[in-house]
Amino acid sequence: MSSASPISSAVDLAPETSFQGLILTLQRFWAAQGCVILQPYDMEVGAGTFHPATTLRALGPKPWKAAYVQPSRRPKDGRYGENPNRLQHYYQFQVILKPNPPNLQELYLASLDAIGVDLKLHDIRFVEDDWESPTLGAWGLGWECWCDGMEVSQFTYFQQVAGFECAPVAGELTYGLERLAMYVQGVENVYDLNFNGGTGDERVSYGDVFLQAEQEYSRHNFEAADTAMLFRQFTDAEKACRTYLDAGAPEGGTGRHRMAQPAYDQCIKASHVFNLLDARGVISVTERQSYILRVRELAKACGAAWLQTAGGGAG
């Protein structure tokens, strides 16, 4: 047939030439390491760590290997599409391996090699950066990974999540996809990234996909987000989380928890609503701390519930 393939050879899926090529390469790489390749969690989160595949699965004794892209929202980082490096919505590629394999650093370096970072040409460094998420009651030790002086990933050995010791410890890798793509594509402005690997008319840039969204959401985050509604939503989510935790609590005190994940969704919700309120500048410095503590209490309660489920390793 003459009109055989609509997919033309003009589309290049090499990681150095397209944003999606970079994602596909990382997915293949980690799939080959035995990870389940998940899709993004269907809720607004501030970072890939919030995905239950990381937060909840990092708890309990069961081995777990997963990798996924997670769109991450940082309302305060919006710059109306005018800053070449800062976005209020961006992608993280998240890898979680429990227990961490002994060669996790080597695996990470091999993944950089796979996406076109030549380790004979580039200066890769592991620079101390201890990670802590006050809202998740989580912390770990690790590094920011530098490539020629630029931070391209976070590498963390989780020590505690939701206030519980991780036993065994999980290794978490978080790749900043836009930054990495800018690096391998040699682009100075995120909006200039080639998204699909097409050339000529077929080329779709990151700006084509996201510039308008950045403008609209910056406006929303800083100027318009309905704060009365958000305050209500925060309280509602907090209450719902508690309700679901109570409703799913083990009966007779011996069984398993039956609603840890729906409850945790509400914790995620509360956290994102808090970020929006923070961006709107309606939370004072002193209140800020108390909101963070409230989310952390939810995270802890959800973690405790998860440990009473099959996924959390309860007998």
């Binding site: 227990p99 961490n100 004979k120 460094r125 620079v127 002086g149 050995y157 065994p168």
Partner: protein
């Protein structure tokens, strides 16, 4: 003599922890050896990002043999005693004991126990795993499968291998046989992560260092620093530039590489609009790179030096380009901050300070600024500073905390404030005070001398000190989270080095506590009262009495800090105590003058003898007062003394004269004069003790002589409490 080589190889150790860890390793291992009687000739420890290493040279192959003789019961002793002896000495029967004859005690058994010294290798195998398990990292972690079990090994980052060998130079050394959590000590290690990925075998320290060097690892941090510094200077020099040296950065960078490769990058000259310190801070903090300046000037050059860890196949082109890109992005941010900040006048930033909590019990930065301003204003007379300028400087002093630039680089606080103040046309003294009011930051930092700066600097520190005293969060032991000791030292240096006459308790603390007291009362308890009601409430609170107690407590803290400060300058701490023991000593300049005069006086023969005379008098008084059950503090009766011995009369006359002269001299702040007056007492005191019996039979005479001694005690108190002086 055999050597120990130990290497603990791990994933990347934070740069800031490496030096301390190497020191700890050396101390722990050598202490454990010495404790067990193993002496060594020398030890040196090393750290790189991926390993801690230790070389202990000149250890004995084994410990000393121990021969011990244990005395047993006499021959023919009861069976129970014999059995006990055999058991405790580890003998099977009495045949193994020897019999010793003693002319007095007769025959008794002696067991000779010989314990051969333990092999050093075995002792090391016992010591080393314990040290690894309990290593004092400031922060440590668990990892991998083992972390599922309680009691898993903790290390700063995952520990990957251990090399531990022990043996003499001429032979193949032994591996120290031990393992920790499944990691067995051996002879295999790895060199540079990228440049030499293959395993290397090592035997002893000398070949270890060479093998690492071949595998692109410079083991010694001092050598890595040296390489970086010299290469950086050379690179700069080749371009007609100069390296802006930075020891802290150098140390950090040397902890980030095993094989330093120094490269030079550039950036657009247009960025040089940004203040130089901000450029330096950006490039230093975010990129860990050095900045450069035009040779022989203070002007920054649009270039930087980076230290990579790689001999790249393209000679470092890609690495340089990558770093330049990041520096460019960072400087764009800094330029944006700079431009944004310039658009807002500092005074317009004041309301923002009201939203920033300084400390939950001490209110906002805004409240703090108000206190500092009122306190600085109260100081203007003492310091002879223009009150308008002081007020302005105090109000603007903290405004740069809410600028973008300081938000990003907190270490630029003060400096940015000064820059923005100059830019908006403030008086140069105000601009300088905004920067200098944080000073002195440490014992070697410059002390401001410009009166406006001095006033705000004093107010800033006194506010912190009185504030934390007020809420009872004083430094304890090694804990001083708010750097209050440093603040007190700052006040001391500001006062002494500017020759300021200030009464701490009566004037400064009082004003500062008042600011806290009113604010606290107002904010916490009486927010909704009228001013009249507030005054009443303040009275009821007893703020003044409370502040007095705190003030004396804080003065004691200052006395301690002053002691540390003067001790560093060679003064005797007992003399400082002797002066502070007098009432009302809160004028630091006068305290120091008095201590100096006292120190000089006690260096003279007269001073030493008078002190001896004082001690003798004080001893006698103590004993007699105890005996009599009452103090002999009445004034001596001159007429009675005149009837006694000539020496008694002479002393009474001398005391009357000296006391008066010393008192007048002290009032005139002539401490040397006061000491001279006291020195006239030496001869009459010596003569008195030589010729006169204090405990005379006549009770009236005895009483009067004791009163004379008491008068001596009182006269010396004009200058110091001699009882506090040692020697």
């Amino acid at each position: 003599m055999p050597d120990l080589l130990l290497e603990l190889r791990s994933e990347e150790i934070p740069a800031r922890m490496q030096r301390r860890a190497a020191d700890d390793l050396k101390k722990l291992v050598t202490d454990a050896l010495v404790e067990r009687g193993f002496l060594y000739e020398g030890a040196k420890a090393f750290a790189t990002p991926r390993r801690l290493a230790l070389h202990v040279a000149g250890l004995p192959p084994r410990g000393q043999d121990v021969r011990e003789e244990r005395k047993g019961p006499r021959v023919g002793a009861p069976e129970g005693a014999v059995q006990g002896f055999l058991k405790s000495a580890g003998l099977a029967s009495l045949d193994e004991a020897t019999i010793v004859k003693d002319p007095k005690k007769g025959e008794f058994y002696v067991a000779v126990i010989e314990r051969p010294g333990r092999a050093t290798l075995d002792v090391l195998a016992e010591i080393l795993p314990q040290i690894v398990r309990s290593f004092p990292w400031p922060k440590s972690m668990r990892w991998g499968e083992a972390s599922a079990r309680p009691g898993a090994l903790r290390w700063v980052r995952p520990l990957q291998s251990i090399v531990a060998t022990f043996g003499p130079e001429t032979e193949t050394p032994d591996v120290v046989p031990f393992e920790v959590d499944g990691i067995a000590a051996g002879t295999t290690t790895y060199g540079h992560r990228f440049l030499a990925p293959d395993a290397i075998e090592v035997r002893r320290f000398d070949d270890y260092v060479q093998a690492l060097e071949r595998a692109k690892v410079v083991l010694d941090v001092e050598r890595r620093k040296d390489i970086i510094l010299h290469d950086a200077r050379d690179l700069a020099f080749a371009r007609g530039l100069e390296l802006v040296e930075d020891e802290g950065l150098l140390e950090e960078v040397a902890g980030l590489v095993e094989w330093p490769v120094v490269l030079l990058g550039t950036y657009d000259e247009a960025f040089l609009d940004i203040p130089a310190e901000a450029i330096r801070a950006t490039i230093r903090a975010n990129q860990k790179c050095f900045v450069l300046r035009q040779a022989g000037t203070d002007t920054l050059a649009p270039a930087f030096v980076l230290t990579s860890n790689l001999v790249a196949s393209d000679g470092g082109l890609a690495i340089t380009a990558g770093n330049e890109r990041v520096v460019r992005a960072r400087l764009s941010d800094a330029k944006f901050f700079w431009e944004t900040d310039k658009g807002i006048r500092l005074e317009d930033r004041l309301p923002k300070l009201d939203t920033i909590v300084f400390h939950e019990k001490l209110g906002t930065q805004g409240a703090r600024v108000k206190r500092i301003a009122s306190l600085a204003f109260a100081l203007t007379d003492d310091i002879d500073a223009d009150p308008r300028l002081v007020d302005r400087a105090a109000k603007l002093a903290k405004t740069d905390l809410v600028t973008e630039m300081v938000g990003e680089f907190p270490e630029l606080q003060g400096l940015m404030g000064r820059t923005y103040a100059s830019l908006q046309g403030e008086d140069p003294r105000v601009a300088a005070a905004i920067e200098d009011h944080y000073r002195p930051v440490g014992p070697t930092d410059r002390v401001p001398t410009e009166p406006v700066s001095v006033a705000v600097a004093l107010a800033d520190k006194l506010d912190i000190l009185t504030g934390f005293w007020w809420i009872d969060e004083k430094p304890t032991g090694s804990k001083d989270p708010y750097a209050l000791r440093r603040a007190a030292l700052g006040v001391i240096r500001l006062i002494l080095e500017n020759n300021l006459r200030l009464s701490l308790v009566g004037h400064l603390f009082d004003a500062a506590f008042h600011a806290h007291g009113r604010r606290r009362a107002f904010q916490i308890e009486f927010g909704d009262r009228t001013p009249e009601e507030l005054e009443q409430a303040l009275g009821a609170l007893g703020d003044d009495a409370f502040a007095d107690t705190l003030g004396n407590d804080l003065l004691a803290f200052f006395a301690d800090r002053l002691k540390v400060y003067l001790r560093d300058k060679g003064a005797r701490h007992d003399l400082i105590d002797a002066v502070f023991a007098l009432p009302g000593q809160d004028d630091l300049l006068m305290v120091v003058r008095r201590v100096e005069a006292l120190g000089q006086f006690l260096e003279t023969d007269d001073g030493r003898n008078l002190l001896a005379g004082y001690k003798r008098a004080a001893n006698i008084l103590r004993i007699e007062e105890k005996k009599d059950g009452r103090a002999h503090d009445a004034a001596p009766d001159a007429a009675l003394a005149a009837q006694g011995e000539p020496e008694e009369r002479a002393l009474a006359d001398a005391l009357a004269r000296a006391g008066e002269t010393a008192s007048a001299a002290v009032a005139g702040e002539d401490f040397a004069g006061a000491m001279r007056a006291l020195s006239t007492l030496r001869a009459p005191v010596d003569a008195f003790f030589e010729r006169v019996t204090v405990n005379a039979d006549d009770p009236a005479l005895r009483r009067n002589r004791l009163a004379l001694l008491n008068a001596l005690r009182a006269a010396t108190r004009e200058v110091a409490d001699f009882s506090r002086i040692e020697g």
